[in-house]
Amino acid sequence: MQGFLDNLIRHFGHDPATWPWTQFVYLGGMALFAFAVINFAAITAGIFSWAERRVAARMQSRVGPNRVGPGGFLQWVADAVKLLTKEDLVPAEADKILFRAAPYFMMVGFACVFVALPFSHRLVIADMNIGIFFIIAVTALIVVGIIMSGWSSNSKWSLFGAIRSAAQIISYEIPGGIALMIPVMLAGTLSTQGIIRAQGGLPWQWFVFDNPAAFVAFVIYFISALAEGNRTPFDLPEAESELVSGYNTEYSGMRFSYFFLVEWGNMWVMSALATTMFLGGWQIPGVSAATLDAATGGTAVALELLSLAIFVGKTLFWVFVVMWLRWTLPRIRVDQMMNMCWKYLVPMSFAAVAFVAVWMLVVHAVPALGLVMRAIMFVLGVAFTVFFVYRTAQNIRDTGDKFDFTSNW
């Protein structure tokens, strides 16, 4: 971002190092980017809320919202307007300051992630050298917001939700964080852009197929991300059939919408992070990062857009998977959730880190072995996909269902 602004200043014939207004331009730039990022986050979350309802409807043989705009696409705008105009109710017995402040903690923790999250080859707010570390750190603010909201509501159900959420998010940050260390080890950097650059455009160049431990790490990361984002099967903090609505039971209007904005926006965050760390990010198949750096003019713009499309495409696929899981799986119980984290995911993530450390030494000694392993992992991945498609087709044939993607819009 700084480089972009420096170039802008140079374009107008000033030297950014000596020009007295440089700091103000930086400040203005920061405000502009912050505005853009928060709006991007809010609008994606809004669109996901519509998408989720449509996907859920399709999975449940319902129609879903289809009245506002084409295919109901503007439903999220209508919802936002409704929530904004609703009364902002604060319960009489609530701790008023904490109750009002809690949604902002969640919002800040969520919006800050976008600072270090890449979108394409050049499009990233700040390519920090501690990118991943920053993302993991600011995400922890969300749990502060949840605990505050649960405690301050002065409702037993909210408190239950908050305590569950605290236990869950803090526990799952450990395997999730350790799993994210594996791409960091393989790439040798914490910078998100650096990690993407260390991968390639083709699937077997992605970190997820690098070795078995990296694949395990991807799965662990994905499970942990589901848990941290309170998504089914880990939606215990807001389990509507047990805790009414969990930590947000007492909220209404705008503050309530913040909680859901964060929940839906988090789907983008977890999927974008998975894409960045394990699935090659914005890398275009057959075009190296060096070629992208060197490109100029129209080619550069075209390649930039292509890399953006690839990143967004991969991310949206995983967003869909997250929705798919939510509408397929039941919820696990609190003790099972804890067992799974501490008895399985944490040891497995440590073992994966140890394996990757040894594997990196082995590959350093015999580089051919790394290629063979990548090939094997990729073939296994393809085989699994084929098997999955075959089983799905078989199930559909057994039931005699018909594909119908066009009606009911």
């Binding site: 099967p233 389990a239 059939s241 799986l329 696990i332 119980r333 003790d335 199930n395």
Partner: protein, 395 residues
């Protein structure tokens, strides 16, 4: 195999009022949680006084009576025929069975023989209603465990049944189809074909439903070994219907105290086998209902094949009057188990006393005992697995 998380012996019950219990909880330092009457998963207006220490419950005391509508008292105030619509409201998820129990009791008082065709119509209606009731039960149970998708799947199939029953009697929920001495309407034209088409479709849906939820690993983990009820305990607590059969007791009124045309049809009585956990656990209660739907399909197919021609209504007097003091008792297998009507004839056109005995009410009694040491999430699954329906508890 999952171990039972609670020893299945019968603990002693303390007979204390709820008020006394509340007072005691205050002194223990545990949290008192009022689950209900507006809680999303109590299946109607029921309240549970939950004494918890964090997530682990020490006790959950059901508090019933929020949906009491004096249905038994109404039975003394209206005529015998006039009471029939009220029986729909005894259990509106299985209104046909509730109709049938009352009709049978009054027919025994009058010593009327119901025409064969009417009995077949009744069986078709009640078995369809049993399937639709079990669909609601299974769908809501899956939803209480956190899986939302099986619920619309179940309700989609229930819609077909509602359509079929609507065609039969014009109503989709409170049918008022049965009459004392027969049924209100004969089967409409082409009804048998429609029924068979539905059964062909539905029998393919059942395995799909099992793939979707019954054998889902998380679902099994949640329910296997959860709150097992031993056969002795189930009998001690007067459990009936699928709850009793899930504990391994093979008792079905349709088989053991046959009524209507059930001796003429072949069907199995599924009992819990502890396939994934302990016999009588919550998963068994879910599975038994799945199997019962399959058996109901079998019964329906036989009914369609065997139904004779003839009248659907016996010769009945316009006004039913009986000798004062006559009494009759009927037992039928409702989808929530052994439903019993006790009717004592009064002096005029009204009954002197109508008593309804329902499965949900007794099932509520066992929750206090089973809930000790479970978690809050388990309580929700336990209530759902017992398939309690609020109107049937309170009448």
């Amino acid at each position: 195999m999952t171990e039972a998380r609670r020893a299945p012996e019968t603990p002693t019950m303390e007979m204390t009022s709820n008020k006394e219990v509340l007072r005691r909880i205050e002194y223990t330092g545990d949290m008192l949680l009022n689950m209900g009457p507006q809680h999303p998963s109590t299946h109607g207006v029921i309240n549970f006084l939950v004494q918890t220490d964090g997530e682990v419950m020490k006790r959950a005391i059901p508090e019933v009576g929020y949906l009491h509508r004096s249905l038994e008292k109404i039975g003394e105030k209206v005529t015998y025929n006039g009471y029939m619509p009220y029986t729909d409201r005894v259990d509106y998820i299985t209104a046909m069975c509730a109709n049938q129990g009352y009709a049978m009791a009054v027919e025994r008082l009058l010593a009327v023989t119901v025409p064969k065709r009417a009995e077949y119509c009744r069986t078709i209606a009640t078995e369809l209603n049993r399937i639709s009731s079990h669909l609601v039960s299974l769908g809501t149970m899956a939803m209480d465990v956190g899986a939302v998708t099986p619920f619309p799947y179940a309700l989609r199939e229930r819609e077909f049944i509602n359509d079929l029953l609507e065609e039969l009697c014009g109503a989709r929920l409170t049918y008022n189809y049965l009459r004392i001495g027969g049924v209100a309407y004969d089967l409409p034209e082409g009804y048998a074909e429609k029924l068979v088409t539905f059964l062909d479709h539905f029998e393919k849906i059942l395995p799909e439903f099992n793939r979707l939820i019954t054998y889902n690993e998380i679902f099994v983990q949640r329910l296997a070994g959860l709150a097992p009820i031993s056969p002795e305990m189930a009998i001690d607590y007067c459990l009936v219907g699928p709850n009793l059969r899930a504990s391994g007791v093979k008792f079905d009124v349709r088989k053991d105290i046959p009524y209507s045309i059930y001796p003429e049809v072949q069907f199995e009585v599924p009992v819990g086998r502890g396939e994934v956990g302990v016999t009588g656990d919550s998963w068994d209660r879910f599975w038994v209902r799945c199997e019962e739907m399959r058996q109901s399909c079998r019964i329906l197919r036989q009914c369609v094949a065997q139904i004779p021609k003839g009248e659907v209504m016996a010769k009945m007097p316009r006004k039913i009057k009986m000798t004062e003091g006559l009494e009759a008792y009927s037992r039928i297998e409702s989808s929530r188990g052994d439903m019993q009507y006790y009717v004592v004839a009064g002096a005029g056109e009204n009954a002197y006393r109508v008593k309804v005995r329902t499965g949900s009410f007794t099932a509520m009694g066992i929750i206090d005992v089973l809930s000790r040491g479970l978690m809050i999430a388990d309580l929700v699954a336990l209530i759902a697995s017992l398939d309690v329906v609020a109107p049937e508890i309170d009448r």
